[in-house]
Symmetry: C2
Subunit: 169 residues, 2 copies
């Protein structure tokens, strides 16, 4: 049960929020194995060429999954971090907005891309990632997360995009 | 030859710097496999309990390596990102300073920790990571990187710490 490795941290990052801390899961060989095996099981039902992870915690699960499935990995990063030509996409936050970037040559020839992140909350980041992959000519096929905060309805925001998660709160 | 997957990007992040872009290596299934297999071969000669990766690109190689070797993973992060009790360490940059953090319970009982990052440049970040692991009672055993910019002498800065890298420039 990978949920038993998740630690609730109250009032982080601000009062009233209970943060789902994945570090106990990561630092356990068994926890990490179960999480990546769980993601791999979801992925086995999907057709894709490459995995895309969103900075920073999407890198953790995305690359381990990519290696386990023997496919490549595309990083989506915060602005100014990728050195080559990028496409960018902005999205709304509770207060203000945020932007993410991808290399324009990251998914050539319409490659099918599986999006991976640690957490699906309101879905804003994942929606922007989906649009980014389309913007560079890739074909996003599904969103896969370790934790889904179902009460924030990110799945609805993502519309027709298939969403899969290992743990739902 | 994983070096053939590395793309030189001139004048990034500033004029006169030639940035070693690892994204072509990551997005190739063969490139990623060769890189992680190479790190695993280095790791096979070392004795450790857990792998620690430094945000953000150390997450990419660190977690994939941890999964491949069936050990756990400890993230070292930028300030304010880790939700639980942290220890922190600051280090000098060319202009100003930077700080990294680790959870205080990340390496209990003197666990032996292998430090992983994508790039060894001047060694400042890696040296701070080494000190952080010691600060929380862990036992750092070696530093492993994909790329070493040998002309920046990071290895010397790290003193007696064993340093291993896949590609040297």
């Amino acid at each position: 049960m990978i949920a038993s490795y998740i630690r609730d941290v109250p009032d982080f990052p601000k009062p009233g929020i209970v943060f789902k801390d994945i570090t106990p899961l990561l630092q356990s060989a068994e926890g990490l194995r179960e999480a990546i095996d769980g993601l791999a099981e979801i992925a086995s039902g999907l057709s894709f060429d490459v995995i895309c992870g969103i900075e920073s915690r999407g890198f953790i699960f995305g690359t381990a999954l990519a290696r386990q499935l023997d496919v490549g990995f595309i990083p989506i990063r915060k602005p100014g971090k990728l050195p080559w030509k990028t496409a960018s996409e902005s999205y709304e936050l509770e207060y203000g907005s945020d932007t993410i970037e991808i290399h324009v040559d990251a998914a050539p020839d319409g490659q099918r891309v599986l999006l991976v992140d640690d957490l699906l909350a309101t879905g804003g980041t994942m929606q922007a990632a989906w649009k980014l992959v389309e913007k560079i000519g890739g074909t996003p096929v599904a969103c896969v997360c370790v934790i889904e905060l179902a009460f924030l309805a990110g799945r609805e925001r993502l519309g027709a995009a298939p969403v899969h998660s290992l743990i739902q709160y």
